[in-house]
């Protein structure tokens, strides 16, 4: 259950359309079922009244859409930003990827978003509807009656280890702002670090071998906004449309993670959208964990204009050999 209802957001959007502050709005659109909410661009209050929703299935982060959309038209775009979305928003601003003046950002609190795959797995196939109740998500199944999934089991992994309920960017805030959380998000990385190299290799082979190179992780990633991705560029030497060999699977994911290292806000969209459920966030979080350990705590997107760790240095930085050693040790 979210702290704010659809109506609160809708009323605010109506007012912003009405007073001319914005002429279009990014919001979540009702789907076919309860859970398949689509991110959408609304051009009028009427459209919003008809299709806008806000509930536990509104995980999509709109920040990346702003890169293209702000280049169109003169008016401002309303965008609803959950706390984690604001980090992506700032990071894109740091990289000059969109014009802040073209956006009206409304921060909204977030109580965590559901992971549909988990709900489906918990409740077997055949979902008639899902309702969010106090005790958790109640899944009304087609064949097995109602099943209740406790909220802590039905939320997305990224929400269970939410790093911040604080908004770091907005023009106005609806509801209460939260705090940066003391998150357990690196526990899983540490678990992997504790394994020996063979185990880690086996783990990643198992995970990455499922990759079908659909590029969903990249295409949804708010840090991956390259005009032309190296994996699409025939002259880059790494272009490929399919993971032909296990090397290409590794290459794609290593380079993608490296390219967003220090820029990744850990929004978790990559893992959310992976059709093969590869825990891609564990790659990004490894970089974040290392950066924090080697170069001091750094949260991408926490402030606009900050210098990312990979375009920075100190004369006393640790040596690569030491880094690998320490990467093993924090386990």
């Amino acid at each position: 259950m979210q702290a704010l209802t659809r109506e609160v957001l809708l009323d605010r959007a109506k007012a912003l359309f009405a007073d001319g502050t914005v002429d279009r709005a990014y919001g979540w659109k009702r789907g076919e079922f309860d859970y398949d909410v689509t991110p959408g661009l609304f051009r009028s209050v009427e459209e919003m009244e008809k299709e806008f929703v806000f509930d536990d299935f509104c995980g999509a982060n709109f920040s990346k859409y702003l890169v293209e959309e702000t280049r169109k038209g003169e008016g401002k775009i309303l965008v609803f930003l959950k706390p984690c979305d604001t980090y992506s928003f700032n990071q894109l601003l740091t990289e000059h990827r969109f014009d802040r003046e073209k956006v009206y950002a409304v921060g909204i609190p977030c109580e965590g978003m559901a992971d549909v795959t988990k709900l489906k797995a918990e409740a077997a196939e055949g979902i008639r509807s899902i309702t969010a109740e106090k005790e958790g998500f109640v899944v009304h199944t087609l064949y097995d009656g109602d099943k209740t999934v406790p909220r802590t089991e039905g939320l997305s992994e990224r929400c269970l280890v939410c790093k911040s309920k604080k908004h770091v960017a907005y023009d106005e805030l609806l509801g209460e702002d939260g705090e940066v959380a003391d998150s357990a998000r690196f526990d899983e990385v540490a678990r992997l670090e504790a394994m020996n190299a063979d185990e880690r290799f086996a783990f990643w082979q198992r995970e990455l071998s499922r990759c079908i190179r659909c590029n969903a992780c990249r295409d949804v990633c708010p840090a991956c906004t390259c005009e032309t991705c190296v994996f699409n560029n025939p002259n880059s030497g790494v272009e490929s449309k399919a993971p032909v060999t296990s090397f290409e699977e590794q290459m794609f994911h290593i380079i993608r993670a490296f390219h967003v290292a220090g820029r990744c806000t850990d929004c978790g969209e990559c893992s959310r959208v992976c059709p093969q459920h590869i825990p891609l966030h564990l790659l990004n979080r490894k970089f974040i964990k290392d950066i924090n350990a080697f170069y001091g705590e750094y949260q991408a997107g926490a402030e606009v204009g900050s210098r990312a760790p990979l375009v920075n240095y100190t004369t006393a930085d640790l040596e690569p050999g030491e880094a690998v050693q320490r990467g093993n040790e924090h386990a």
Binding site: A121, G126, N215, V220, A242
Partner: protein
């Protein structure tokens, strides 16, 4: 019709494996079903469907076509096709079985794709009826009966028995060799009735494709709704790659240490780099690319293939699309009340 106790499935697979390589859905490390090569210990998954479709068996994501070996300044061509082995794909759902027809009409039409044809000739399909279709299923929309799956052998599982019904000579030949017990059809008939009842009760059971078809190009091509439908499309290839009927591929060369390996791999019309050629990509915007995919399933494919739709209603794109956009939403938006 033949039968075998579910408890003896392993023995059945072992018997099949004597003459064929056997693939069946099994739950992977991530808890989701994928087609897996059977060997002792691999357990048949009762999951409704696999994440990836069964088209992989005939049209794999990558396939080597030939090698060029270069020595100094000379070039030698090497055919890399292997003989292939007979194989059984067990547990294919009705929707995926239909997808083979959709692919056949493309790859087996003249000029025949010999790589595809070879795989097809080696494969035996054991389909499986769907006793628990999901809310995302809409095979009925395209005239598929999940209670009566096609294939070489149609299978049904009730509480503790697997029923096998040969549908083709190929299927009969395989079954005959397995020496199974004969069975009457009573249990299967009862299950078919139950399945049909359940199919009718699905949320998408009323979805109709009547508003679409080969003659609808003019009606839909310029529709303004394409803009809003495609606006937040990420342009990834998820829908394409999990789709059992998407058949586009790109032919590429990989520089090896001694020459070049020519292979083909799936491509997606959703990609901005779709089969990029010297002339560039003909569909310049995501709107055009998005439209292409759905128009192809609902209009272009039927136009060229006796009215058969290019979608089989398996529902994979409904559950996998990162932004939850899918063919059902497209059909409903464009078709309005007629859908």
């Amino acid at each position: 019709m033949r039968k075998i106790a579910v408890a003896k499935l392993d023995a059945l697979f072992a018997a099949m494996a004597k003459t064929h390589t056997v693939y069946l859905p099994a739950d992977g490390a991530d808890g989701r079903a994928q087609y897996t090569r059977w060997e002792a210990g691999v357990v048949y998954s009762t999951a409704l469907n696999t994440v990836r479709s069964a088209k992989d068996f005939f049209f794999p994501q990558t396939e080597n076509l030939m090698d060029f070996k270069m020595e100094g300044k000379s070039i030698e061509l090497i055919d890399t096709r292997d003989e292939g082995e007979d194989f059984i794909v067990f547990g294919v759902r009705a929707c995926d079985v239909r997808s083979f027809d959709v692919l056949d009409r493309v790859f087996l039409a003249e000029p025949v794709d010999s790589y595809y044809a070879a795989r097809r000739a080696h494969g035996v399909i054991f389909s499986m009826a769907c006793t628990r279709p999901a809310e995302t299923c809409f095979c009925k929309t395209f005239g598929i009966d999940a209670a009566e799956p096609a294939g070489d052998v149609a299978c049904y599982i009730d509480a503790d028995t697997l029923y096998l019904d040969a549908k083709t000579e190929k299927g009969e030949a395989v079954l005959a060799a397995l020496g199974l017990e004969d069975s009457d059809t009573a249990a299967v008939d009862a299950q078919k009735a139950l399945i049909r009842e359940r199919l009718d009760a699905l949320p998408l059971s009323g979805l109709s494709a009547a508003a679409f078809g080969g003659d609808k190009l003019d009606e839909y091509f310029e529709r303004p709704e394409w803009k809003t439908l495609s606006e937040t499309c990420l342009g990834c290839g998820t829908c394409t790659f999990v789709c059992p009927t998407c058949q586009c591929y790109d032919i590429r060369d990989f520089k090896t240490n001694t020459g070049v390996r020519r292979y083909r791999c799936w491509d997606s019309c959703m990609y901005s780099e779709f089969t990029k050629m010297s002339a560039g990509q003909p569909r310049l915007t995501q709107l055009e690319r998005f439209r292409q995919r759905f128009m192809h399933k609902l209009v272009y494919y039927p136009a060229n293939n006796d009215g058969i739709f290019g979608c089989v209603g398996c529902g994979r794109c409904l559950s996998r699309c990162p932004i939850s956009m899918n063919i059902v939403k497209v059909m409903k938006t464009l078709g309005g009340k007629n859908v």
